[in-house]
Symmetry: C2
Subunit: 553 residues, 2 copies
């Protein structure tokens, strides 16, 4: 074994992964990382601006490229990255993979945990990089791309560590045959499937990429990371650290490569279709995701997280204000640009049950609108909760949503960000639609768009939410009810289309959040994606058990 110093971290992660109670190897509080870390991280980010990114151990083959623009300043970051031809990436990855595959899973898990411990030292730099590529607030950037992403990576390491040790490496098999016995020496090997590609998205460039990367790596597969060309820096920092640690531990740094492309010459399809690519992890829109899934028919193993339309079912509540404040935050957080953000709110035409009787649909809608307005206009909360809009297409989508035919209850408008006057911002638009307006609420309107759908009753709400998840996919579902039978009905209906339900969330927890070591992220069972962070399938499909037998005289 090469290094064993992280065995304790790995063992704790395996235990946490099973038990699924609260666990975090990497605390989400910035203060946990020392007094000097914030300034050091900010400085490192500033120094990288307008400079080539030279930290990778990959050779520059075809020049440098970079096109990142801060959603906060709307200015280019001016950072360039080495561009390498697909064939070069593939052959270097294949070569590096042989040494990596020969390691035991314990060695790989230890080296990979070491990479996380080293990435930790860059959490603040990665936070700035995430903020100025995705438009997330600084705090969300820190948590999502830092500790939360590292915990998701560790979760994948732990699951791999465990699954690859499901069967013994060697054993003696002896079959009694009466007067004699037959003896065989047997050995079992988890043979890695081959070179992997991880395709990143522009909104969560680290959180959504690390699980696939670490799942590939822990199971012995080399990996090529292909970030969105508008969100490279956050994951480039992580890849550079991984390469450094690989080299320090006698491994080939090309085991984990960064593949940078540009909007006018995207290489994703070329990479995915390369015959040497065995594994693909994808996060992004459904249209390209469906194409990636179709490559499963060409013998590739594919893991996707695509888009879904998330619902909230409002039946009855203990405290309507607490509920609507919670939901106002859910739809405002990062301006609805989370794949877990709710879009469709199914509310019965007779209203929502409260301890004081039914609150009518219009009153609930007005209260919700007011809660959103209050949050958005709160000088201490608004800009920080919303962050910025990653790209113009999302902004346009909010404008277009107003033309869809619903009743506009609240327009999406620019929100002043005191620190970044040029920030691309937009508050949530709230639109009332009837349950007959399928054409409107049956599509994902990614970004700050909230649809309030008036239904006949809660049974109708459940029926519509279920149908949405079954046909268009769903990653989350929120539900509010004080009635145990209704709760069971919602759970049964939504779970039957492989959608998890968060019941009665108020206070400082939101349905958008999926905690590592406890919540599965995406179930893999509906059109929102075919994979799940991190169930057994996410790991075991990346390798093949092969057993050899030798006759013993």
């Amino acid at each position: 074994m090469l290094i064993t110093k992280h065995q304790n971290i790995i063992d704790n992660a395996v235990k946490a992964n099973h038990e699924r109670t609260f666990y975090a190897q990497y605390p989400e509080h910035p203060k946990a990382y020392g007094e000097e870390a914030p300034a050091k991280g900010g400085q490192a980010f500033k120094e990288q601006l307008n400079q080539p990114f030279t930290r990778l151990k990959q050779k520059v083959m075809e020049g440098m490229a970079g096109e990142e623009v801060s959603p906060y300043t709307q200015e280019p970051l001016g950072i360039t990255y080495p561009v390498i031809a697909v064939d070069e990436l593939v052959s270097a990855g294949k070569r590096a993979g042989e040494r990596w595959a020969a390691l035991s899973v314990a060695d790989r898990a230890n080296i990979l945990t070491e990479t996380l411990e080293k990435i930790k030292d860059h959490f603040f730099e990665i936070a700035h990089a995430t903020m100025h590529t995705t438009g997330q607030s600084f705090m969300m950037s820190f948590q999502a791309s830092g500790p939360h992403a590292n915990d998701r990576a560790l979760e994948a390491i732990a699951m791999g560590y465990q699954q690859l040790q499901h069967f013994p490496e060697k054993l003696n098999w002896e079959k009694p045959m009466g007067k004699f016995s037959i003896k065989l020496e047997k050995s079992f090997k988890a043979v890695p499937k081959g070179l992997g590609v991880v395709i990143g998205c522009s909104t969560f460039p680290v959180w959504n990429s690390l699980p696939g990367m670490y799942a590939d790596l822990v199971t012995g597969n080399p990996v090529i990371v292909k970030p969105h060309p508008k969100a490279v820096l956050p994951i480039a920092i992580a890849v550079a650290v991984i390469q450094q640690v690989l080299e320090e531990n006698g491994q080939d740094p090309y085991t984990c490569q960064l593949a940078v492309d540009s909007s006018d010459h995207l290489i994703t399809k070329e990479l995915c279709e390369h015959p040497q690519i065995a594994l693909i992890d994808y996060t992004g829109g459904s249209s390209f995701g469906n194409y990636v899934e179709s490559l499963g028919g060409r013998g590739k193993t594919v893991f996707t997280e695509k888009a879904g339309v998330n619902s909230v079912i409002l039946d009855s509540v203990k405290d309507i204000d607490a509920v609507l404040q919670n939901l106002a935050f859910s739809v405002s957080l990062y301006s609805g640009q989370m794949c877990t953000a709710p879009q469709n709110f199914f509310i019965p035409e007779s209203g929502v049950g409260t301890p004081d009787g039914k609150l009518g649909f219009n009153e609930v809608a007005a209260k919700f609108r007011d809660a959103i307005t209050a949050l958005v206009n709160n000088p201490k909360m608004g800009a920080g909760t919303l962050g910025a809009i990653q790209n113009e297409a999302t902004l346009q989508r909010v404008k277009d949503a107003a033309q869809l035919g619903g009743k506009i209850l609240l327009n999406g408008t620019a929100v002043v960000n005191e620190e970044y006057q040029a920030a691309r911002t937009c508050s949530p638009a709230v639109i009332e639609v009837s349950s007959a307006d399928h054409g409107i609420f049956e599509r994902e309107l990614f970004g700050p768009v909230v649809l309030l759908v008036k239904t006949k009753d809660t049974a109708h709400s459940i029926q519509l939410a279920r149908k949405m998840a079954e046909q268009h996919g769903a990653i989350t579902c929120g539900a509010y009810t004080t009635d145990e039978t209704v709760k069971d009905n919602i759970a049964t209906a939504m779970n039957s289309v492989f959608t998890p339900v968060s019941f009665n969330f108020t206070g400082f927890i939101w349905m958008n959040q999926h905690a590592a070591f406890s919540d599965f992220h995406v179930t893999g069972g509906n059109p929102a994606g075919n994979a799940s962070f991190t169930n057994q399938e996410f790991i075991v499909k990346r390798f093949v058990w092969v057993g050899n037998r030798t006759y013993v005289d």
Copy 2:
């Protein structure tokens, strides 16, 4: 919990499955099942001949059908089975599945183990049924369709029992937030994917079907079993027992249904393509198997065992006679109609190393031919080892093989079976081909056809065997070498294309055999099939983890 009496069997099976040392819940010796069992089983089989099969709990919807013919007597069995329309099967299965899915995995595992304990009482009847549909010898019929199949089913139960308990059913999650904490009640459910279809083959109607059936059932999915129309009875007996036990335990017998069709109206495609079918297990030829795999693109989860071309690499041996006797048995056993039977024997032109120096290619070939002839003509061994040929197409394939262009060293000929004069039999044909004759040895010649391929040297043999497995699939590979370096090279090369290797088998163990609880059957990594009895993937792809969360005030 309904019944718990089999917990000990389940626990032992889980342990055996992990440890992979020799284990059998159902002994393979016929004598283990009591003195009366053989006669009782024979009698039950005889009484069923020329009668409708009325033991199923399914309603006869569209009349009765049956077209089985004994390969031993070449007479129809005269047994008919209820024919039911696909839509009826599907809706009955869906309905039954709801109650079944609501059970705990422990309840399901106990009921399913009870079905195996009851199937055990029919081992001899199933043996006769298998013999007179597949052409296997009585002993192979008994072992393969009886104890070995039951053990494979128990293996699937055990893996399911374990994987579904990987995460807790309920837990309290508490996240410390400094002065307060956030509390959630969480629950995790392994939601079954839906109705399954298991498509059987004509040569191993029970052994190859039980794993998929029990994998579906233990994970909470109802299943429809679609046997080959020429080999219905063996699995019909098992399904009838399963339905009986289901009913005795308060379950809907339609949870496991038999779907019988006829050669002039096959329903397999209609069944597979039905939108309500979520899972498909298939054993059979590659062409239909590739079609079944293509249904993966339509959202179905597919498990296949197709055809492969299995190789033997002969490098060096301690005792050439012991080796060739072992291999002669391997190619003769059930007349090469096992998916694990070797077809291509790669032998260097310079011959095979022995303690007395190299034995030339021609001498090895002659010795092999003689070993086969001696076995075939041995009155105590020949007919019993070969069994009968399941269908005319296989017989024709042996005849055609003689026309392929190789050098005929031994013709396949009819072999006298003293007990069944009318038996359809054929001894192995042995054909020498050059390594340039790709067109001949690159296809699967299912049945008693042995190709001896003359190679430049062992490195060349390895290269060809590896390429065969990579391009055409392989389920097994035999190798003989006394050189540790060559052994490593063979293991590395074949394992890299996800093919297991059996080294230096002599005596009473053959490369064709894959033992439950120890050997994986098919790796799932090469074109011979995408699934493996029974790795984690064989189980975890049949359900989806879904978690619900409830906020605790």
